[in-house]
């Protein structure tokens, strides 16, 4: 069983300990608390050098030290502190960095409220468990046979057919009924080839609807999107060796994943604020009365500094943009301001939490909005951002790649 160490300042006082354990158990993992004695707490705290006022944070530091010094040997670490606590946020970040700099153990951080439920933690726990238990699958670098990848996202459902290491068909539709949307996307992908469902060697599913689709289609691989997208991104960008960072600004949540030799070793996942999501750009394009595909080129022509945008909020931010238009501002400037706002927020909420490793591979539907890609590069000090071919189908490509070798449907025939 995968052992996930809980390094926290007191999840039990927020009433969410059970939810954390439930999320870990679902993916065959168990939560452990690194055991330490009283004397070690002071010793470790002194050594770490952060003067925390809260004694639970001292305990948290000592638990992290016990992991780094090998007194406790977990397979993965889950660092959690209360949302809105400044002192805990400082310690959480330093402890994460400390563990990452000194071990190869996968780490994920989370700030919780009393409303945190197991469902919100599933994807993080599954990704932690995957990086520990399924390294062999994640090490796959080449697709073989005929496989179908299905990605049921919050906004769109994508399908990709791959054969002998090449994408031969793609499908895309907005997500309504999960199964019907998957069938529609798959039909579109099949229509570009001479193949049908019966010809497949295997099916891989990912995204929010992965379990529902997996059950319906008897998928050989049902996998969360953090590992799948990371794998798909480095595969398409031809960065399977060495380090890279994958950024996926989605319709509902954002993922930032650092990868080493094709295997994810750290990730953060946002989803608290719609203003930092693809949804903001979707709403902007509607208010500008342009198709979402035109928003990117329009933004590239504009200057975000010329548009007033005083709020990060999806409601008030859009209102600001409308006010700019009413005052005679150009659509291009407004589009640029929207892209800049999303990129700035993704940076503030997530990218600063992770040590960016170049190259940065931007994927997901929003990676096709050139203005956003440019804004991300600018926010990060002009670093190179790679947008690979099929970046909008990233989850489906990753699923089709990872399931190859697992499906043997044709062997039985």
């Amino acid at each position: 069983m995968v052992k996930i160490a809980l390094v926290s300042c007191g999840t039990e006082y927020s009433g969410i300990q059970k939810e954390i354990e439930k999320a870990a158990n679902k993916f065959g993992a168990e939560i452990i608390l690194p055991e330490i004695d009283l004397d070690y707490i002071d010793e470790a705290y002194e050594k770490f050098g952060f003067s925390a006022q809260s004694s639970s944070l001292k305990l948290m530091i000592a638990r992290a030290m016990a992991i780094v010094e090998g007194k406790s040997k977990p397979d993965a670490v889950f660092i959690a502190t209360c949302f809105r606590c400044a002192e805990a946020a400082l310690v959480r970040n330093e402890v994460r960095r400390f563990i990452q700099n000194n071990t190869r153990i996968p780490v994920v951080t989370y700030s919780f409220t009393e409303r945190t439920k197991a469902d919100e933690l599933f994807i993080r726990m599954e990704a932690l468990a995957t990086t520990v238990t399924r390294r062999s699958i994640l090490a796959r670098e080449k697709q073989e046979g005929l496989t179908l990848g299905l990605d049921s996202g919050s906004t769109t459902t994508k399908a990709v057919l791959m054969e002998n290491n090449k994408v031969i068909g793609t499908g895309w539709t907005s997500t309504k009924d999960i199964i019907e949307s998957a069938k529609t996307a798959a039909a579109e992908a099949f229509s570009q080839t001479d193949y049908d469902w019966d010809d497949l060697d295997g099916i891989g599913t990912t995204g929010y609807g992965r379990f529902t689709m997996g059950q319906e289609f008897g998928a050989e691989l049902i996998q969360e999107e953090l590992s799948v997208n990371a794998k798909g991104a480095v595969y398409l960008a031809d960065c399977q060796k060495g380090e890279a960072t994958v950024l996926d600004i989605g319709g509902m949540d954002n993922k930032v994943i650092t990868v080493n030799n094709g295997i994810p070793d750290n990730f953060t996942m946002g989803g608290i604020c719609a203003g930092a999501s693809g949804r903001f750009l979707d709403m902007t394009s509607r208010r500008l009365d342009v198709d979402i595909t035109e928003l990117g080129p329009l933004a590239v022509q504009g200057d975000w500094r010329k548009a007033m945008l005083n709020s990060y909020c999806i409601v008030f931010g859009i209102q600001d943009l409308v006010t700019t238009l009413a005052a005679g501002g150009s659509k291009a400037d407004v589009a640029a301001a929207a892209c800049h706002s999303v990129s700035e927020q993704v940076y503030e909420q997530q990218l600063q939490e992770i040590d960016i490793r170049e190259p940065l591979i931007q994927v997901g539907g929003t990676s096709l909005i050139s203005g956003l890609v440019e804004a991300v590069s600018e926010t990060l000090g002009g670093i190179e951002v790679i947008v690979p071919e099929y970046s909008q189908h990233i989850g489906a490509v990753g699923a089709a790649l990872l399931v190859s070798g697992m499906g043997h449907r044709q062997d039985d025939k």
């Binding site: 039990e12 006082y13 927020s14 009433g15 059970k18 925390a52 949302f83 009393e114």
Partner: protein, 151 residues
């Protein structure tokens, strides 16, 4: 008999000193015991649920982290009930601890503002200081006895 709040609220040593003099220490353990004995709740280890940090809103605003409000939902009623209080400042883990500096700040402030007799002492660093602290606490508890008899 006087109900005496203690801080840290889970200090067994303070609770013992008060009990020896025949008063009632208001300790965290009793509250937690009540919660874990309740078969209706299943949220280990302490049966604090999502509802408790919401109850804590009586003591701290919504901007305050859930962990502080969760703690206050248990400590707050003890403070409300207190007829006297003993606060030990700078105590180490082993003496008793609630783990959160913000909860400490708020709880101590609320105790000071209750208009009840409050004794504040600093945790001793040597044997002499320890004798002094225990004597000070005993004198304080004795004075409560006299007051309650006068009443």
């Amino acid at each position: 008999m006087v109900k005496v709040a203690i801080y840290p609220p889970n200090s067994l040593i303070l609770a013992d000193l008060i009990e020896r003099k025949g008063h009632t220490p208001l300790v965290l353990q009793k509250q937690i015991r009540q919660k874990i004995k309740d078969p209706e709740i299943d949220s280990p280890p302490m049966n604090i649920t999502e509802e408790d940090p919401i109850k804590g809103l009586k003591y701290a605003a919504i901007e305050v982290p859930s962990g502080v409000r969760g703690r206050m939902s248990i400590i707050g009623p003890l403070i409300d009930d207190a007829e006297a209080a003993i606060i030990v400042d700078g105590a180490p883990f082993g003496f008793g601890c609630i783990g959160c500096a913000r909860t400490n700040e708020l709880s101590i402030f609320l105790l000071r503002n209750r208009d009840i007799p409050v004794l504040e002492v600093t945790y001793p660093t040597n044997q002499d200081e320890t004798y002094l602290m225990v004597n000070e606490i005993n004198d304080f508890i004795d004075s409560l006895e006299e007051k309650s008899e006068e009443e």
